[in-house]
């Protein structure tokens, strides 16, 4: 693996004064190179490889769930193990696959897109990456412990996760703490980079949207990851030190847990989708060969979504017995989010309008994102209607909704970004043939898996159950077949990446005809050190 990635140049220029890489005369070889690297591109690659591995581990857990649900009755796993699979699938996918993938893309692309030589805090960058393998080794090791791993759902509601939790929960808490610290440090680094290291001449409103969306995401992370840390600390105290934050017997309140969790949890949802908006906003203009329609409105829409995300948390809790006023407040604020999101979808479609569109693999994934994410948005609007939510709550309709925004939303955007930037990373174009196969099998797989869940959910099938009533059998059969199709077709993605790293059609500096941003001004593959003398950016007026 190491030999295929760009080698550090033998001599370091003095251009990037103060960067840690310059303190090594020759970088260490072998594993130490990766353990000690402070280079944003190498750390970016580490993040992306880590998240890909975790994507497969989380995916295997999902396939265990789908295997068990292939037909009614208990076939393959115990209900207890089934619960651990649903829980770990969610935790791994959210915290170990999607979030690190976006951080990896940020590490690789933000310095290149703003003309910076590296991240502002390169050593901190190394530390925040290497926390992740530790965190998720801790988390996954709980599966081998007596009593099993976490089995209370990825939302770890108290008292399931405190009074009735398996003994391994303390490991889960420590793992989540480490993952949280990693995200926070990554966010601090990204904010410091974007605010301080932009090339001369690049104003805030000249930044590519991926940079903008990540800046806003980083602020969300700074605001809510400490709340998550607080919640799991309270759990730790409740479990081990006899406090009663969430224990009604001691004067605490389990509903308080849900408020605190979703105060973190809803902004977290946007942490997983805002960078996706940025990626799609880079890809669609490139392949439509038109500048992005409504750049400024995109920035303001992203900021509005981020602000609104703090005012909607209780829409996850419509059935806990909120007073009518609160139900109405959270229903209306939730619906309000559809407005800035609608602005975004409108802008993407308008960018496509009268463009000279070509359908390379990144564009296919980006277009599928727009369509399928919008479906997820609409089912979200249905769930926002408080009285209707009493029917949908905790059913497969909710599962269908958030998988539509996370799989063909967040994950498709990450894949689109990978196909889009692979020429910059490796110097080779990814295989179009394999890419298309990967795309079409993924689209078919995703829809086969998650579309029937709308129907089984509306018909009343509850979430997180290993067995179900007979009338749901057909929908679940289709979902399971789709899940295996989707899961197996991701092996094609690995094949594309491996082939692309090893060779393939050579990519020029500007790999895509319509690409505009600064990263396309450096050679492909991007050398280890870029922009050691900052480029001078002449601001382009936005149409």
């Amino acid at each position: 693996m190491a030999s295929k990635l760009p080698k550090p140049p033998f001599e370091h220029s003095a251009g990037g004064a103060g960067l840690a890489a310059d303190t090594h005369a020759t970088p260490p070889k072998g594993i130490l190179r990766w353990l000690l690297t402070t280079n944003h591109k190498e750390i970016g690659s580490l993040y992306l490889i880590f998240s890909l591995i975790m994507f497969f581990i989380g995916g295997i857990f999902a396939l265990v769930v789908r295997l068990e649900l292939f037909q009614p009755g208990l076939q393959f796993v115990d209900p207890e193990f089934f619960n651990q699979m649903t829980t770990l699938h969610g935790l791994i996918m959210v915290f170990a696959a999607v979030m690190p993938a976006f951080t990896g893309l940020a590490n690789w692309m933000i310095p290149l897109q703003i003309g910076a030589p590296d991240m502002a805090l390169p050593r901190l960058n190394n530390f925040s990456f290497w926390l992740l393998p530790v965190a998720f080794t801790l988390l996954l090791s709980t599966l081998l412990m007596p009593g099993g791993g976490p089995n209370f759902g990825w939302t770890f509601y108290a008292p399931l996760s405190t009074t009735y939790a398996p003994p391994s929960t303390t490991f889960f808490i420590l793992g989540m703490h480490l993952a949280g610290i990693s995200s926070i440090l990554g966010a601090i680094n990204i904010i410091a980079t974007i605010l301080n290291l932009r090339a001369p001449g690049m104003r805030m409103m000249d930044m590519p949207l991926f940079v903008w969306t990540w800046l806003i995401t980083a602020f969300l992370l700074i605001a809510v990851m400490p709340v998550l840390a607080g919640v799991i600390t309270m759990m730790l105290l409740d479990i081990n030190f006899g406090t009663s934050f969430f224990d009604a017997a001691g004067g605490g309140d389990p509903v308080l847990f849900q408020h605190l969790f979703w105060f973190f949890g809803h902004p977290e949802v946007y942490i997983m989708i805002l960078p996706a908006f940025g990626i799609v906003s880079a890809i669609i203009p490139t392949f439509a060969r038109k500048p992005l329609f409504g750049y400024a409105s995109m920035v303001y829409a992203t900021a509005s979504i981020a602000i609104l995300s703090f005012l909607v948390w209780a829409h996850h809790m419509f059935v806990v017995g909120l007073p009518l006023v609160a139900e109405l407040f959270f229903m209306y604020t939730t619906m309000l989010i559809a407005v800035p999101t609608g602005v975004k979808v409108f802008n993407w479609i308008t960018t496509l309008f009268q463009g000279s569109i070509t359908f390379e693999t990144p564009m296919l994934f980006a277009l599928a994102f727009v369509v399928l994410f919008t479906i997820g948005g609409f089912s979200g609007l249905m769930l926002a209607i408080a009285p209707a939510d009493f029917q949908y709550h905790d059913t497969y309709f909710v599962v269908a909704h958030f998988h539509y925004v996370l799989v063909p939303g967040a994950i498709f955007s990450i894949m689109a970004g990978a196909y889009y930037w692979l020429p910059k990373w490796t110097g080779h174009y990814p295989s179009e043939v394999l890419g298309r196969w990967h795309f079409w099998l993924s689209v078919i797989g995703v829809n086969l898996t998650f579309f029937p869940m709308h129907f089984s959910g509306l018909a009343g099938m509850p979430r997180r159950i290993p067995d179900y009533a007979l009338q749901f059998a057909d929908f679940n059969l289709v979902s399971s077949l789709g899940a295996f199709l989707f899961g197996l077709s991701q092996l094609l993605f690995v094949a594309v990446i491996v082939k692309c790293v090893r060779g393939g059609e050579k990519a020029p500096a500007k790999a895509w005809e319509g690409a505009q941003d600064l990263e396309w001004s450096v050679p492909s593959p991007a050398p280890l050190h870029t922009f050691e003398t900052p480029p001078h950016v002449i601001p382009q007026p936005h149409p």
Partner: protein, 187 residues
């Protein structure tokens, strides 16, 4: 201080503030619930009666529900599961605690009221829920609940449900009842 250091120190301030805010939300939530009466949280201290004329024009059904479980081998019985009363009227109902185990134990009954907008209109003059109870093995304890629904109870409330759930109290945790300071005096 370099610009990067300035940015980082500012984000660190926000970080620490948000961590503190998460913990501050715990008492804030409690205060919010107490002020608004949301979440079925009732005052765990005795309140004075409102001396007001009984409103004969309407009846309110009061359901009294008791729940044991939660690892405490006690039984909690209520003399009357459901009663009809007028707003303003003062009612006394007897509850019986039975320790069914072979050992003396501490326990407490935690109240919850629904609908939550009836909460502030339920005044308890005397309640066993104010304090932790200690029952010897096999002991029976009969205690009264004296309460009143005030006349300003919203008109749309026709039924008020008062639920008592029994919880064990670990002897070491007796002092750890921050939300019910009055309970400490009773021990």
């Amino acid at each position: 201080m370099s610009p990067v250091q300035r940015t980082v120190s500012r984000t660190l301030v926000v970080l620490v503030a948000m961590f503190g805010f998460a913990f501050a939300l715990v008492p804030l939530y409690d205060v919010f619930c107490r002020l608004t009466g949301l979440n079925g949280k009732v005052d765990t201290s005795a309140q004075a009666l409102m001396h007001e004329a009984v409103d004969d024009s309407r009846y309110v059904t009061v359901q009294l529900v008791t729940r044991s479980g939660s690892g405490l081998p006690w039984r909690l019985e209520v003399a009357q599961r459901q009663l009809r009363m007028h707003p303003g009227q003062v009612v006394e109902v007897d509850f019986t605690f039975v320790n069914q185990s072979e050992t003396p134990q501490w326990g407490r009954a935690v109240p919850s009221v629904s609908p939550s907008n009836a909460n502030r209109h339920l005044r308890k003059v005397s309640c066993f829920c104010f304090e932790e109870q200690r029952l010897a093995a096999g002991e029976r304890l009969e205690v009264p609940l004296v309460f009143q629904l005030t006349r300003d109870l919203p008109a749309e409330v026709h039924t008020v449900t008062l639920v008592y759930t029994l919880y064990p109290v670990e002897p070491g945790a007796l002092a750890l009842t921050p939300r019910a300071p009055d309970a400490l005096d009773a021990i």
